[in-house]
Symmetry: D2
Subunit: 507 residues, 4 copies
């Protein structure tokens, strides 16, 4: 029976025998744990939006023939990619946090085209297996996590060179029915809230790393998997009484470490097995999608801009020119991110497999702005909020018989605004700039889908300096021989941009 | 006979009896003036590109039924707008300067939809007149200038309040055949290089400003028009012997002041006459198109990045990590501008007249980045260029019998690079960061289509704070009454973004 | 018996009957409360440094004739002010947090000169009273808090116009022996850790606000005072077992709200009473000192740069060029703050009372950089740290029998570095960029001593535009009459800068 | 007869038989060349200020016992260094350009201490020779240029490895009376306006580069010297009729290339000859002084802020909040530069020779800000100026009989301001942001005294990461062994900062 909405989704997670550790102890039922539950609520919102806005957050899939959740949809046009961005922004607005499903969506899409190309070259069957898997998850309406980031050990060594071979997930055993994998994946977004996990390699591999070139699907509750929950700033506020100090008591993100100990993957769920020369393609396509997926943060930005505008209003300073100017600046930065994301999605091209891949340069530009602008938006929100945000007493003090009346008297803002509303708004800003959701809005914006330097490297690979030098030499009337020996460009960015796909015509 | 290419275009400008003043004297033939010619060459490039790349720089018009230059095309889809951006970037790459035709294109498109709506309300005939005019210019393949910016006098007074009524162009006389206008337009891009000029009001008007609510087409050589040419940094280098010190000897921009003294506009070329309440619509639609048209500067950015990469190569430092990082930064900023422009074009909507209007928020975000990033790209180019850029001797010294050999000996760069190539590249960077084309790349990027503050005001009008406050209140569980009395939003940005056009559904 | 060192200081705080509320309950003994103690430790460090570095952190006072803690010293030279900055940076380095004593130091110094000038005009005795008070606290070696920021109520109304008169602290009763005050002060740094509090008005006052023009000293445990402790991000981690997750388990800041209910101040401890026209002078001198006191944050910056360098080392990436470049950038920003602070202190002038006042323009410039650069330093530290900083499991998981060995295996960094060291360093960076000390390093840097806009207003008042316009007109050969009607400048900045104190000579 | 004022200085330059080339031709008398003269006027201002402000711009020298121009003074205290900064800012205010004398001042001071230390080690006589030279120039009141930057050829090769040995100035012959040098120095500020030139090596040298380790004084008109004048943006405007279009018609900078062809230096004017191991010390001390000398640009910043304020006033927008805010931002950036410079001068230490050397870290921080902030100040000035700045007609058009009245009518600003004043102010802003003095305000700010990367390298060498890591480890309670193997720090910055000069006490 397919999952039909957020409430059913939450129920679908109950009763699984997951081995989840938090504060050194096994968690009995994650669904009921007050610190975990907000992250489940955020995923649930992706189900409800698909019902409320079926065109934006859903799509008709030509694979299963069904109307499916967009997170499970293989992009059939550039517009499908643009719609991903719209849905991401909207969910960011509704939850104010990471809703944890983009990794799975981006993994499915990059695997879709990569398996096709592996099959073309190696005469394998990965693509049709993947399509079967997709049909099943579309039908059941599951949540898919994508497990890519290995713990890596000594970063100067390749997977097979590590003293401890488990620093990257790899095949430790194989039999007729499938393979067994061991290793660990760090920073796994929403993994405990998923039904299935797609295990993938994390980097370019060489021949000697063959055992590390493994892609497959495992159920979240497969034997041999251990989860260790990651701490977040102010996480335990979710476990306190009351709902004010948490700032956003309903929604939160989730990151955990997954440890695989001889976890079995049956043959029919293996989508790469030893084709090490395709690891780089998979990773690059995935990060290309995923860097542009950070458009979600513009939805969080909308919330934070709204919170800043509200607190300015509560403080009675909404009409000060410097306040208005700061709100404009926040908006300008937020929409700058959005612009690059939309442009990347729109400037997509069709892959050999038929699905659509967004533009790499613009995806990296989008993400690179995400590593900076949310920090500045956050700084401006704190500027507008005022210092009270970090010196406010606890909710218990507001409820206390002695302290409550004092705080009510002394912390009132402008007429017509309750002290509680003011406190709630300040706590939301704290939540997004220092607290639990600052983790997602700031630090994850920095490192998710690759740290800033990774984008700079990718921008460098796309930037076609030889093409640009030629433009300059042309205008400077430099006619010398050295223009002949042009180094090879890594990219065809300008061919794509200018829509001139025939070779040799661009200059 | 239609103009078929750049060369024919240049010839088409000869022999007109324009009254053009430069350095206090009448210019005999602008086409042959060494300081004016580079600006004509830049316009000529727009003809040649339309031939070389008919899909990007041309289009089939459903008005005339002809394949026309894209600068004369009324946008029939969002993709048409995206293609404008592509063409703009490409021409920026090919000329390294302002090619002066976007104002006309953007004016035609904003007039197209505005005249339609005036007619709907006032039962006038402007739209069909305009279509006739468009047919004619498409057939003849003319260059159209758009004259908007009045000199304005005392900025605290409206047009009709000015002590001198001529501070804004206005009707001074009318007869059966048409009207006569007087006034002056400042900073008129490429006006002398045009065949026709569209005269338009520059701001929101009121009932008492009726005589200022005039839109019409006049030929560039109409009786009563005087042009006074604007100076640019290093402009006279174009008049020196040699072609090195100019930096970009072939291409330049053009700004002049146009003074109208009783200039006649016949009835059939009048597209607004007294409908003051539509002046604001015209101006807003025009600036919306035009702010996004500044994507052209990414083409200049490409040239400057190429020049910086080339000089780094000539200096033998191309592989230094800080040099590579600066080139990445320049590229990142340049593509960030591009992203917002493309997103604005793509997020277009169809007007009542049937043509397409780009998104206002994203157009303003695009332009606002243009008021900053070219300055930073320029600073980085100067960083990479080295100090020699501003201490280089003159071309005459390089040619001098005593000084030439000394400079040849002492200014050589790395092996295999001629001193002349190095000097030429430095002069190009000087041209774009301090010299003649810095005017277009920097200062015009700042003020063209509205100064930075104008964009901030427009972003403020689009930013929908009430919508965003509601998002924040929802997450902070603020439930008080004040959410009811929501102020009116100026914009439907999020409705457009999320593609949910039915009212009241967005939250 | 004077307090001789940090340990004695801690003991001096015991057994006072303070009414401190935290989480809705009275705190029995703040000294022993695990969440409060780190803030006490930070103050204790100011005692120990005065012993270790008597020249930097102490001084010979000509008031008491004793060698005193520099926080209790009235500046007798510009060098004394420079030494304040050195001490502040050093304490920032040693504690990584706010050590809470600058407010008292800056209040004493600004009161010193202001009381002198009140006495000169009003023939009062405040200055000698203050000197007696200073002698006493120097002798006893007490900690002095300065209570300035009122809760303010409706910000558009003056103190006496507020519907509730208690929105600003004011005199509610007076008798022969003294006065009684009521009201509340927000964001009171280190108040509970002080021995005495100097109560001061928070803004410019008018004649009708006379009862609000009250300055006096009250013991921290005076009857009628209630303290409500402010929450900080991650504050309860100090109450968890273990010392890792807190990040900096030893040191923290403290902000509380102080509520005065009919608190008595005896005549001999009153330093202003009704001289409303001197409130502005007091506030301006205080903020001038205090904005420059934010040099302390460069000491925190040093710690964070060190932490980033250490984690880069642990991760094995210390030699990557982009890492090195980011450390340089962090240092550059940090030292830029320092430079402006030192310049402000050095460019001091002597007041009528004989003590020294730092330069106002440069103090504001220093603080204004503090409202931005720590955020960027923090962003760069998170960049270098990597995503693990926000996904690390808890200390309990590292100690757990099942999870400990797994984490030990999978989270090891480069050879020779223990997993625990790596975790500890990441937790320190979390502490300073998201956690408890981020409150002081970021948000307090934003709002302490006045929010960013307050500095911009003060810079505007100092910037002498008429003087600068004259410079420009001189070079542009503008000779017109309008230069005669020069508006009054608020400031004599350039007279001070150029050391030319005779009037009318500067241009 | 000593030179007594600016006028006498100008006369002192006449009649020298300098071989100066400009536009391929020998200049007859540089003093009378309209393009050269503004640079001479700027130097003349240094004489007049020394008379007007003898304490700021002059000093009593203990070498000659005379009151001397501060540019010829050896710093005898930290205050002397601070006074250099004051004088530099003041001259920047008075000239709006580079006054060309800091190189000589900084060269004399760095040679003073370096020759002393060479003598100590090598038992040479350079220091007493230099003192004799200083006595003479102080007595005669001469202008001293410092020639450091060699043309360098292939930057990957050391001086002695170059295919052409003349890429660095070196000794080509020696006889009993002295040595003969050949080579070329690029970007020589004010060289033609000097009386003597100090020739110095440009970088760290090794044993095989001994012939390049030459320091000596040569008169500007020594046989064998050729000067080739460098072009600047808009340079020929100084040769046009009228004084408006030049923007700042009176003052300009000067950069030329100096070519030495067997130029003789007598023994008594040689201050280093073969002591290659001291080349690095000389260069480092010189750049340390000189990077802080860029405080001069704050004087230019004052002019540009004044010009922006004046044009805002002329345009009638001076009270707009965004205009005021931009003026505050410009001031804030300008004073931030000033702060770091003053701090560097104040934090000086005494050298073995007895003179004072400013702090290296803070000098580099100051200069690094100078490579960025003037560009932003310039951008903001253009923002405030409006687009007219780059579209203004020529002065000849304003004087023309047809065009003059039209421009007078149409370009008037607010009431009470003449069109000419408005135009003059715009031309001054053009001059400083695009024109002749933009070269000094922007590009020279970038590259003078070392390009940005040179400062980053020097900041890296001073930043004491091991010290800072130790601070972090202390707070994070990291106790492991690795802290023992601390790498050597290059710098004693914190020892100096904290005034704790005894070893091993800083932590």
């Amino acid at each position: 029976m397919p999952i039909k909405n957020g409430a059913e989704y939450v129920e679908s997670l109950r009763g699984r025998k997951l081995k989840v550790y938090l504060f050194g102890q096994l968690v009995k039922e994650p669904v009921d744990h007050p610190m975990i539950r907000p992250s489940i609520n955020a995923v649930a919102a992706t189900y409800d939006l698909a019902n409320a806005e079926p065109e934006m957050a859903g799509a008709k899939s030509s694979i299963s023939g069904l109307q499916v959740n967009r997170f499970l949809h293989i992009a059939e046009s550039a517009e499908d990619l643009v719609n991903q961005n719209k849905m991401q922004r909207r969910l960011g607005q509704l939850t104010g946090t990471c809703f944890q499903r983009c990794v799975g969506m981006d993994a499915l899409n990059s695997l879709y085209s990569t398996t096709y190309e592996i099959d073309q070259k190696h005469n394998t069957k990965y693509h049709s297996r993947l399509k079967e898997f997709i049909k099943m998850i579309q039908r059941e309406n599951y949540v898919i996590g994508g497990a890519m980031t290995d713990v890596k050990g000594d970063r100067s060594l390749s997977p097979s060179q590590q003293p401890d071979p488990d620093m990257f997930v790899h095949i430790v055993k194989r039999d007729k029915k499938g393979v067994y994998i061991t290793g660990a994946k760090a920073h796994q977004t929403g993994c405990i809230n998923s039904h299935w996990i797609l295990v993938m390699p994390t980097m370019r591999l060489k021949g000697e790393d063959k055992d590390y070139a493994i892609v497959g699907a495992v159920p979240v509750d497969a034997p041999g998997i251990t989860y260790i929950y990651g701490r977040q700033s102010c996480d335990t506020r979710s476990m306190e009484e009351g709902d004010i100090d948490a700032g956003n008591s309903k929604f939160g993100g989730q990151e955990a470490m997954i440890i695989f100990d001889n976890v079995f993957i049956p043959n029919e769920l293996i989508f790469m097995d030893g084709e090490y020369d395709y690891a780089a393609m998979l990773v690059e396509r995935f990060t290309c999608y995923h860097r542009r997926s950070y458009v979600c943060k513009t939805g969080l930005g909308d919330v934070l801009i709204g919170a800043a505008a509200a607190i300015a209003d509560y403080n009675g300073v909404a009409s000060a020119s410097h306040i208005k100017d700061k709100l404009v600046e926040m908006t300008h930065l937020n929409e700058t991110i959005f612009g690059a994301g939309i442009a990347s999605s729109y400037m997509a091209h069709q892959t050999a497999s038929g699905n659509w891949q967004c533009d790499d340069m613009l995806a990296n530009v989008c993400k690179h702005n995400v590593t900076k602008f949310p920090y500045e938006i956050s700084r401006l929100a704190q500027d507008i909020a005022g210092g009270l945000m970090v010196t406010l007493p606890s909710e218990k003090d507001f409820r206390g018989p002695e302290t409550g009346p004092l705080l009510e008297k002394y912390l009132k803002g402008r007429k017509g605004v309750s002290t509680e509303s003011r406190v709630r708004m300040l706590r939301l800003i704290e939540n997004m700039t220092l607290g639990r959701n600052a983790v997602g809005y700031l630090t994850e914006s920095m490192h998710g889908a690759g740290s800033p330097q990774a984008q700079r490297i990718q921008i460098a690979r796309q930037m076609q300096l030889e093409y640009k030098k030629k433009l300059a030499k042309n205008l400077a009337s430099v006619k010398e021989g050295e223009t002949a020996e042009i180094s090879q460009e890594n990219s065809e960015y300008f061919n794509k941009i200018f829509g001139v796909r025939k070779k040799g015509k661009q200059q």
